[in-house]
Chain length 710, copies 2
Amino acid sequence: MTDRMPSSEDTLSLLLNPTSVAIIGASDDPTRIGGRPLRYMREAGFKGQIYAVNAKRDSVQGLPAFRCVAELPGPVDTAIIAVPAHSVVEVTKACADANVKSAVIFSSGFAETSDEGRRRQDQLSEIARTARMRIVGPNCLGIYNSVVGFFATFSSTIEGMRPTPGRVGLVSQSGAYGSHLSLLATLRGIGIRFWITTGNECDLDVSETLGWMAKHPDISVIVACAEGVRDGDRLLASLALAHERHKPVIFQKMGRSKVGADAVQSHTASLAGTDAVYEGVFRQYGVYRARSTEEMLDVTYAATFDTLPTNRRIGLMSISGGVGVQMADEAVELGLEVTPMSDGAQARLKALLPYASPRNPVDITAQAFNNLDLVKANLDVMLEGGIYGAIVAFFTFVAAAEAIVEPIQKILRDAKKRHPDCLLILSIVGSPEVIQRYEDAGFPVFEDPIRAIRAVDALSRFRERFMDRAPLPPIEIALTPLPPVPISEYRAKQILAQAGLPFNKEYLASTATEAVSAATEIGFPVAVKVASPNIQHKTEISGFELGLTGPDDVRRAFIAVTSRARRTHADAYIEGVLVSRMVTGGIETILGAHHDPTFGQVVMFGLGGIFVETIEDVSFRVAPFGDDEAHRMMRELKGFPLLDGTRGGPRCDLDRLAAVISSLSRFAATHAGSLQSTELNPLVVLPTEHDLVALDALIVTRQEPVPPEK
Amino acid sequence: MTDRMPSSEDTLSLLLNPTSVAIIGASDDPTRIGGRPLRYMREAGFKGQIYAVNAKRDSVQGLPAFRCVAELPGPVDTAIIAVPAHSVVEVTKACADANVKSAVIFSSGFAETSDEGRRRQDQLSEIARTARMRIVGPNCLGIYNSVVGFFATFSSTIEGMRPTPGRVGLVSQSGAYGSHLSLLATLRGIGIRFWITTGNECDLDVSETLGWMAKHPDISVIVACAEGVRDGDRLLASLALAHERHKPVIFQKMGRSKVGADAVQSHTASLAGTDAVYEGVFRQYGVYRARSTEEMLDVTYAATFDTLPTNRRIGLMSISGGVGVQMADEAVELGLEVTPMSDGAQARLKALLPYASPRNPVDITAQAFNNLDLVKANLDVMLEGGIYGAIVAFFTFVAAAEAIVEPIQKILRDAKKRHPDCLLILSIVGSPEVIQRYEDAGFPVFEDPIRAIRAVDALSRFRERFMDRAPLPPIEIALTPLPPVPISEYRAKQILAQAGLPFNKEYLASTATEAVSAATEIGFPVAVKVASPNIQHKTEISGFELGLTGPDDVRRAFIAVTSRARRTHADAYIEGVLVSRMVTGGIETILGAHHDPTFGQVVMFGLGGIFVETIEDVSFRVAPFGDDEAHRMMRELKGFPLLDGTRGGPRCDLDRLAAVISSLSRFAATHAGSLQSTELNPLVVLPTEHDLVALDALIVTRQEPVPPEK
């Protein structure tokens, strides 16, 4: 996995920062697809060498035109290919032959259109691999590096409003959407340094680009948009890098809903994994998943100010009581802590501003702006205790008045100097110029205070996750794979018990007499279940009997259960029955793992019964992971209050439960090569005895080893 | 309730459309609170008579100044009072004596600050009542009528950006927030006709203003913001009016969270009811509850285009596949139907645009904009079937290019002409001028497509609710109130059974022998419960025994249960025990009603057991209501799939359940004067027998009649 990363670094840096560029299919018309990159690069003052390649002309936009790549007088770092689809393979091959280091292919008409296109695209992949040439696209809108004015794109958003360099890297599979984002980010004052649209991803993909950005010293915030990734391992490695370097990643993964996922399938060649698994991956790696463009840009914008709140306590200041309440409502719903100020601080505030509500939210009322010393004193009191990781101040148009901007900025800057760790976000309505002055002073500004609150939540989650341990590295795959034959419940329990999963003692009885003596040994009441590697769904055939209270009961049940099984599964190998102690009460949970085509072994944990059935209250993670991650999984469940005893019930042994969940994750990772799925259902959490036990277990193996994912 | 409304209409119309205005405390300085209204009205060309009252000056901003109201040469419709708090009562009294019809009091220093202030405010209420003079405020930012240029406000948002008249009426308790909203609405191009900040509401309140706007022929959309209302009946009457006239109401009620509600308490004198009850009221009356300013303005903006979708099917068109998927994801999560186009329509589209995804979302790709006939043909195909109540088209910056705007507008207008019922919303990024051209052509434009989808959802909910029956009018209160003494479970069940609520037959047995014969009559197994009007919580004292299988069992249980009760409740009157058939299985629900201080009798329905405990899965409505409303209550529950059988279980008799819920609502409304609370818990829904039965019942009466709400 990791050996794919290092060597690519240099070529990607070259791709995005070339000293020489060839435009193949360069157009004399600066408004055409083949004409725009040249115009954009010149307008942006790109200093590198630019060659125009066009066999039909002598010159292109004033540059001499060359007939083909082979005739170029010097080496080429990056070729921009803007020729019809049917010529692309030939042209790309010529680039490889001419030792061009990388290429950006605009042309469409590949895997997204037809089988013929898919074949052409495979040829491009082949060229990339054999010639070690990096290819972006095909069917993409290009790339840019705004610092050096390298605009290898035909996106019309570049016209009129050129992106400003900043510390944000953006990668998008969709070119149209990437362009839309670039424009909106620029309008918002978010500086995008590197912008890459990967299109059909015949070579370079979103995951690898993300990893490159995670390593790049000039990038501090990463934005990614995709409908799905093909190589889950590469995505995980890149996300682990971003985590290690404490770079916030904001990811928009399309296709949350069934309809959305179907639409993804219908219009791209991308293989989208189950959305719930992506959701788990994002949580595991501390990635912020954005559900809309606005949300994505809000979080990105706030992250560019380089202050992540050190805790989840939030101070709320407003000039309108009603807005203070709104902000508090939102903060509480997001799980931020609207901690009241200390009694002393409240008393001091009340003395300063008798008409203010000093608790938190703090309502200073618009009158405070008649004497800015009051705003300053108020801010100082809120900051002094050092209790708040972030403060959101709603000043609306009041702070946009010309006479106010300078003095308020001074107050804010002074406060920031004394309390640099506290994230201070403003909510102001004003002209773009006024807003920019606040931003230049170092303060994020949101028109809508609710969006500011959401940004605080996002940033504090980044920080929490960064402070926490990194996701576990992959572990060794077991040398002895699971047997490629059906595994009985009895055997599955033995295998899983060795991996640390909890089962009650039970006996495999092949005769009624054996069953009775097992039951006597265990103690009544007992449960009896048919034992066969070929029968997995015992409920449907009434393959068990519960609550058996005496020897006669057990004898009768043995006969009943095995004969029903023989009747319904004539070919099944019936080993006999499993006899076990009856377990009643407790909270039913479900724990399992399965092979996901994108991410490999994925663990699911949820509450059982009506919770899993009715509200799909489950949580996913990629295996393996540690107890801390298992704790997070539990806490994501809506039904978590059932487990932690806050709803009146006894508190379960959550540490023990976390250990069991992470044990299953290690088991799954160890057997990644041969495990299709495993499930403990129910895994009963017994609050009174502070223990847990799985009542049923299932292991399904893969008959063949998985082919390596592309 | 209704008799409060009619006479106020004329005075409110006069208040907002006066022919003569007196400014008391008028200032010569046009930047001061007492100076701004005069300046604003003059700048806006207000045609009415304006009198300046200022005892210390001869002239104010060029107008002659009068010493007091009594000396004014003509009658006054509306007085603006901008004097210090301590003079306000006197000045207001003078207005009343001078037969001034209404007053707007800016001054603060009333109930929001001190007991002394509260007393002054009560005096103002008294003047309003006795002199039949309408008063807005005190502690408010004023009112305006943008059509006639009547700006009785000192809000600084009026400077620079004067509100434009439209068909929106806005009422806000908070002046600062109301000003903020006025500015944002104006910037957004939303035309506010009437704007009222009610402040401390010594007379005019949010509810009454809302009702007046509901009746006003020039208002078609109503926006309201409040931290709570004092008079629930008045709010309900106003909302019923808005429903009757099909006017969308967008309401922002602050204080959703505990912290938020506490903050409301701490900074205003307003009596906020339980937030969950407001939530129920809003659903009942089809009010859109906004959680943020942005959301509120989005829905308001979209509603001003006067087209509500006639169904919940949505067509999605985009030039970026990824955005199509995003829109589909959001639509599905909101419960909109992303219905695919017919096979024929898809085939036609595919023929027109071979590279398009024709299903829905429809990805026409940016290339379609190279030949606008394709966009037109595509739109026609989507509209033809008439299946979509709304279509959202994501065109981003592509549709903002100068050469494109005119032809695209023509295409859109033509389409709209042929399909006027379909709501067509655009998502475009462009200059304010370009956006306005689309708006002027009749199309709402959102920068963010997700916000457009949310607006479609909101508008289609308005339409659905308008098409549905109006909320029930209040019903006659019972002449015979419930007895003002503790009511036993046995008696409660009799009372509720008469009201149509379902119970199993059960016997009150005062001796063990009676209990045994009752059990024999019912058939074993039975349950036995202590019967006493003084013992309401039977679980705590083990006041019942279940699953009794024979006469000896019952005899023993009688003695055990009654003696435990005597031990724990020495003073209780023990009637004996209730003997009833054992009910096992089924889905436990909880149904109850209670007296809410704001809205009177409120009904709660939810799923029982862990659902109500863990995720508070309950729904509220004001009593009384019909079966249709009860159906909506059920469908709001997250656990609804348990009831309707979609999760594999049998489908309950939902109509029967709805009838039971609405019966309880009628019972509660009938006994509104004497009922404190009633609860059926559990109300067991028995899927197999398609019936339901309440196993326990409780009625708590109010000892005294409720004092009339202020």
